[in-house]
Amino acid sequence: MKLELRNIDKSFGEKKVLKNVTLSAEGGKAFGLLGRNGAGKTTTIRILMNVFPADKGEVLLDEKPINYDKVLFGYLPEERGLYPKKKIIDQLVYFAELKGMSHSKAVSAVDYWLDRLGMTEYRNKRLDTLSKGNQQKIQLITAVAHDPQIVILDEPFSGLDPVNAMLLKDVVKEIISKGKIVFFSSHQMNYIEEFCDSIAIINGGQVVLSGDLREIKRNYPRNRLVVRSLQNEKIASEYEGSVERGENGDIIIVLNTPEEKKSVMSKLTETYDIDEIKVYEPSLNDIFVEYAGDQI
């Protein structure tokens, strides 16, 4: 199963919100959609889910235009909200039924998920009697109970305590292992890094970077060396002008070209007492700041 957006354009009035957006996500893998606030993430998701049509471009599933009447989506919106005054079981069953489930199937699916997320005791309570984190777990059930092929999670981890975050991680991993397409949107890079095989960074309505995360990292210029040594200060003074401070007192030497790597490495190990030396692997955070930091 492969979901693709091709050359999507979208304007609201005079404002161009998406410009020629192209991305693709595969079943059994998680896809991370990154971007700063207002970059066009939610608009992309809404076009993907056919809330409104694109001005130009197409949404494809396995190379064919997607049939929204047959494909089921699960959606956890960034703006959380259900019916605060209604019983939890009633509204969860209602949403599952709207997605096409029969009443009895909806009830058993909802009960399964309530149990899975440890929420069974709240089954017959009103939603507004729950804490924010627990409301979020209820909201997650609306995204998964009807067994959708494509699950879209917008900032799924915001507001969860570490225990609930672990629980959600397990759920997400389970969904991915079932071969479904999981579409992540988040600002929390560590979660994206943990789950997503491929990403797209969207900035100012344009995709500025997309592809396999490991490849992106590999293709990142390999011209930095991370050095850990007790003689950090000496090394820093020798390479003054091309040294950055890393984490934990490490220093990062920026080389003029990646080819210098070998000579600099051997020179350093010969001259100084080096504990560790390695090529710097950028974090997703670095990549994000580099691609999305400048403009909106």
């Binding site: 009035g13 889910m49 809330v51 049509p53 009447d69 909200g81 605060p84 709207l98 997605k99 096409g100």
Partner: protein, 438 residues
């Protein structure tokens, strides 16, 4: 099969599939929203309150009667307490004749011939012994003495009539007629009959008025409910999920029809209990022309009322729903629905004024009875209070039905665009643009 027909059958299948899913969603939404209403404590409370008020009004005469029966044992005959009216004329015979004539006419007075002069009469009135007095100089001239001249005192008008008739009888008797002949001449009866070939406006006025007023209340009340319902979902952000779960058309029609069903149940409960109470108290209300005209409404008219009620409700509720979807805060609704309310109130005014003027077939009313936003009230009023041909009624209903469907689809489109607009109140222009694009 030719390629073209394959494509055709495929697309037909697509439409059928879409249709089935939408109808299913519509059913679920209808059920969910309807259940919300009938389990709502306020909804139940309001319904019971109205039923209780109607019960109170309808049973009032019987309850009053029970108390009256108890009271009547304590209070003796009241006829002895009638106020005193004094009469005095130029001669004793005239005084006695006038007293007799007045006593026959003023049954709520004890009429006495005064046994004193004018000053004595004045003194008796001032002391309260007598309430009023007629002092006659002749049979055609008098002075009326009264302590406080009440606004509704028409004693002089009655006295004029009595004296005039005495004068005429006397004149005829002097001309050679016997008193019997004279009074026969003066009271010769005129036989008149009314044959109404159309509609009795007087009789229909009250129930038409009540129905128009009920329509007015129901549309504003339930229309607001739809608007609030949509805006609540939007402000609680449940909309984010709903809009990706169900088709806007299914949402809109589901909500509006659920509200309509809840409204019908409420109306049936209120009017049904009114009818029941009326029948239970038939003895007391049967003689009341207004009340029995309301419950004696012809069945045909009732059917028309139902049709216009439902269609009128739909067209306004769709608009209210669309407006509700563009409001980002619950508080904004009242100002947002103002234009619709204005149209509606204007239509209501036109109808009520033409009703009270007695002519419901003015050009304005005729025009209003074809405009879908005013026709539920205007056409119903004309059917009830005038004679309208079946073709005119048919045309009005047809226009209304088509408009309801059109407004329904349009409102679903506005809804689809409106629910995702947050922040500032959207300009009408930008909403229209977005709707045209959608």
């Amino acid at each position: 099969m030719s390629p073209r027909s394959t494509i055709f059958s495929l697309s037909m299948q697509g439409i059928k599939y879409k249709g089935v899913r939408m109808v299913k969603q519509f059913g679920k939404i209808l059920k969910f929203e309807f259940k919300n209403y009938i389990t709502n404590k306020v909804f139940i409370g309001v319904t019971l309150f109205f039923v209780a008020v109607i019960a109170g009004v309808m049973f009032f005469p019987s309850i009053k009667d029970i108390f009256k029966k108890e009271d009547s044992n304590n209070i003796p005959d009241v006829s002895g307490d009638l106020p005193v009216m004094l009469v005095i004329s130029d001669t004793k015979e005239n005084s006695e004749a006038v007293r007799e004539a007045f006593a026959a006419t003023f049954t709520n007075y004890e009429v006495k011939v005064a046994d004193t002069d004018i000053e004595g009469v004045k003194a008796q009135i001032a002391s309260g012994e007598a309430e009023c007095a007629f002092v006659l100089d002749s049979l055609t001239s008098y002075t009326y003495y009264v302590n406080n001249l009440s606004m509704y005192d028409n004693n002089t008008a009655i006295a004029d009539e009595v004296l005039r008739s005495i004068y005429r009888v006397n004149a005829l008797v002097q001309g050679g007629f016997t008193p019997e002949e004279a009074s026969a001449i003066l009271t010769a009866p005129i036989e008149g009959r009314i044959e109404n070939l159309g509609i009795d406006q007087m009789q229909n006025f009250f129930y038409t008025y009540i129905m128009i007023f009920a329509l007015y209340m129901v549309i504003l009340l339930y229309g607001q409910m739809v608007a609030t319902n949509v805006a609540t979902e939007k402000s609680s952000r449940a909309m984010e999920l709903l809009i990706t779960s169900a088709k806007p058309t299914a949402m809109m029609f589901g909500k509006v029809i659920a509200t309509c069903l809840a409204g019908l149940i409420q109306i049936v409960a209120i009017f049904g209990s009114a009818l029941l109470f009326f029948n239970l108290n038939g003895d007391y209300w049967g003689g009341n022309a207004i009340v029995s005209s309301i419950f004696g409404m012809p069945a045909g008219l009732f059917v028309y009322m139902l049709i216009f009620f439902i269609l009128g409700y739909f067209i306004y509720s769709f608009m209210f729903g669309a407006i509700g979807s563009t409001a980002s805060k619950l508080e904004d609704i009242n100002t947002s629905v103002m234009p619709i309310t204005m149209i509606f109130v204007a239509g209501f005014m036109v109808v009520v004024f033409s009703m009270s003027s007695g002519n419901v077939d003015t050009v304005l009313m005729k025009v209003c009875s074809y405009i879908p936003f005013t026709s539920p009230m205007a056409m119903f009023t004309r059917i009830a209070m005038s004679t309208v041909s079946i073709y005119e009624i048919g045309a009005s209903i047809a226009i209304l039905v088509v408009s309801v469907i059109g407004v329904g689809i349009l409102s679903a489109k506005i809804y689809r665009v409106g629910v995702l607009l947050y922040g500032n109140k959207p300009k009408i222009g930008s909403v229209i643009k977005a709707v045209l694009k959608a």
